[in-house]
Assembly symmetry: C2
Homo-oligomer: 263 residues x 2
C-alpha cells in the first residue's frame, strides 16, 4: 500500500531529505480522520470559503514588512501581517477587516509552550483563507513544514539589522519552536531573552513569510492548481502515529511500540 | 526575579500540577520577543481588532456541534465551528463570513506532523478574535494549554457514539498531538487509522470546544476582565528556552545545556 525507504533509525537529514518524496499515496489528510481519501471542496460546508481574492505579492516586500513588525507582533502575527498588509491595499475586501494581531497567542510554540513555530500558524492561516480549498491548503502547508525543517534559516537578511547583528544560520530538521530556536541558540551561543535571539526569530519570520508568498504566487500562476513538492508525511503508515520519522531524536535509542505500527 | 520550585528532574505531573502556579511574574509573553513587558491593547495597530461581539455560548451545544462535525472537519476546524456556529446565529456579523474550514490544515499537529494538537489552534483562533485583546488571548490560551495537558481526556461523552465505543481516557501531560494521541493509543490498544482513534479525537475536540466556551463565558461574566488560572509557563526563565519543564521526557536523562539557562 505504501513504500517508504527508511525507518526510525535514519537520521533526520536522511528522513527529511528523502522520505518526504517517497511516502504513501494515501496522504496525511487521512491521518487525523481515520478515513481514507480527501474530502473534496464540494463536500465542505459553505461558509463563505473561497471568497478571499488573491493578487500576486512581492515576496521581498512581504519579507520586509514581516521583519519590521516582528518586534511588536511576534512570529505568527507578523507573518500574517507580511502577507495581508499588501493585500489590504491591492484587494481590500476581507483582508481589511481581519485583525492580524488576533493570532499573536501562537508565538513561541503557542503561548511559549515550545510546540510548533508560530510562523507556520501565521502562514497556515493565510494559506487557508487565500487558497479557499482544503486540499490545496493541506498540500501547501505540508510543503511549508518541509521547507521550514530542511532549510538553513534565516534566509532573509535585512539591509540594516533592527536589534542586533547575528552570526549563525541553522537547520532545525523540525518545525518545532523548541528545537528550531534551541539549535540556533547553541550555534550562536546566545540566550533566549537576548536581542540576538529576537533578531533571529524576526529574520526567520521574514523568511517564512517570503517563502509563503512565493508559493502563493506559483499557485496563482498555475491558475489555482497547486503542484505539491512533497507528498504528505504519512508517517502514520510507518510509525503508526502523527509524527516526523526521526523518532530517536526524542525517544533515545528505544522507541516505544505503537499499536498498529509497521515493523 | 522569579521563583520556581522544580527543575528538569521533576515528573511531568509534579511540574504541571504545581509550577504553573508559581512561575515568574515576568511572563511568557516576554518570551518570544526578548522584550520584557506586555504590549498593551492600545499599542497594537488598529486592524479592526475587538470587533467580534460575543454572546454567551451553551457549552453543551458547542460540544455537540464540535463532536458531530469532527469527521468532516477534523480537530482544529471542528472546534472553531463548535464555537462560531452558534455565534453566527446569535451575533451574525463577522462570524457569518469566516470560513471555519480554512484552518483544517492544522489537524494532526499541523498537516499530520504531530506538533501541537489542532484543537488548540481552533480554540486559539476563536479566543483571539473574540476577546479582541492580545493580553487576554495570551492568558486564556495559556490556561487552555494547561487544561489540555492536565486533564484526563476526553471529558465529553456523546449520547450515542458516531463511530465506535471507546474504553479509555488518558492524561497527556503535554499539548502535543503525537504525545496525546500516542498515550491514548497505548491505553486503548488501538492503531491510528481506526474508528476508535477517530472517535477519541472527536470527543477530545468536543471537550476542548466546551472548555473554551466556559472560559469565554467566564470572561464575559466578568465584563471582559479575564482572571488567569495559571501564570505563564515562563520555563524560558528556568530552562532558558520555550518549552514545558519535563525535559527528560524527550531528552532522556541527559538534558543538553542551553545558553543562558539557570543552573
Amino acid at each position: 500500500m505504501f513504500e517508504i525507504g527508511q525507518g526510525c533509525e535514519v537520521s533526520r537529514r536522511g528522513f527529511l531529505g528523502k522520505s518526504g518524496l517517497v511516502v504513501a499515496a494515501v496522504g496525511v489528510a487521512a491521518a487525523s480522520s481515520g478515513v481514507l481519501g480527501l474530502a473534496s471542496r464540494a463536500e465542505a460546508k459553505d461558509t463563505g470559503y473561497g471568497k478571499w481574492p488573491y493578487k500576486k505579492l512581492n515576496p521581498d516586500e512581504v519579507a520586509k514588512i514581516a521583519y519590521e513588525n516582528y518586534f511588536d507582533l511576534w512570529c505568527a502575527s507578523t507573518v500574517l501581517g507580511g502577507l495581508f498588509t499588501p493585500l489590504k491595499q491591492s484587494v481590500g475586501g476581507p483582508y481589511k477587516s481581519f485583525p492580524i494581531e488576533s493570532i499573536r497567542w501562537a508565538h513561541g510554540g503557542l503561548a511559549g509552550w515550545g510546540t510548533v513555530c508560530g510562523t507556520l500558524v501565521g502562514s497556515g492561516t493565510a494559506i487557508g483563507l487565500i487558497t479557499g480549498d482544503i486540499d490545496t491548503a493541506e498540500a501547501m502547508t505540508n510543503d511549508l513544514m518541509f521547507y521550514y525543517a530542511e532549510t538553513v534559516l534565516p534566509v532573509y537578511t535585512p539591509a540594516k539589522a533592527m536589534k542586533a547583528e547575528i552570526k549563525h544560520k541553522t537547520k532545525a530538521d523540525s518545525p518545532v519552536c523548541h528545537i528550531s530556536v534551541g539549535k540556533w541558540m547553541q550555534a550562536e551561543g546566545a540566550a533566549f531573552l537576548t536581542a540576538e535571539r529576537a533578531e533571529r526569530c524576526a529574520r526567520v519570520s521574514a523568511s517564512i513569510a517570503m517563502k509563503t508568498a512565493e508559493m502563493l504566487n506559483a499557485w496563482a500562476d498555475s491558475g489555482g492548481k497547486y503542484t505539491p513538492v512533497h507528498k504528505p508525511l504519512a508517517n502514520v503508515l510507518n510509525n503508526g502515529i502523527t509524527s516526523q520519522n526521526n523518532c530517536t531524536d526524542c525517544h533515545g535509542v528505544s522507541v516505544p511500540p505503537v499499536p498498529g505500527a509497521k515493523k
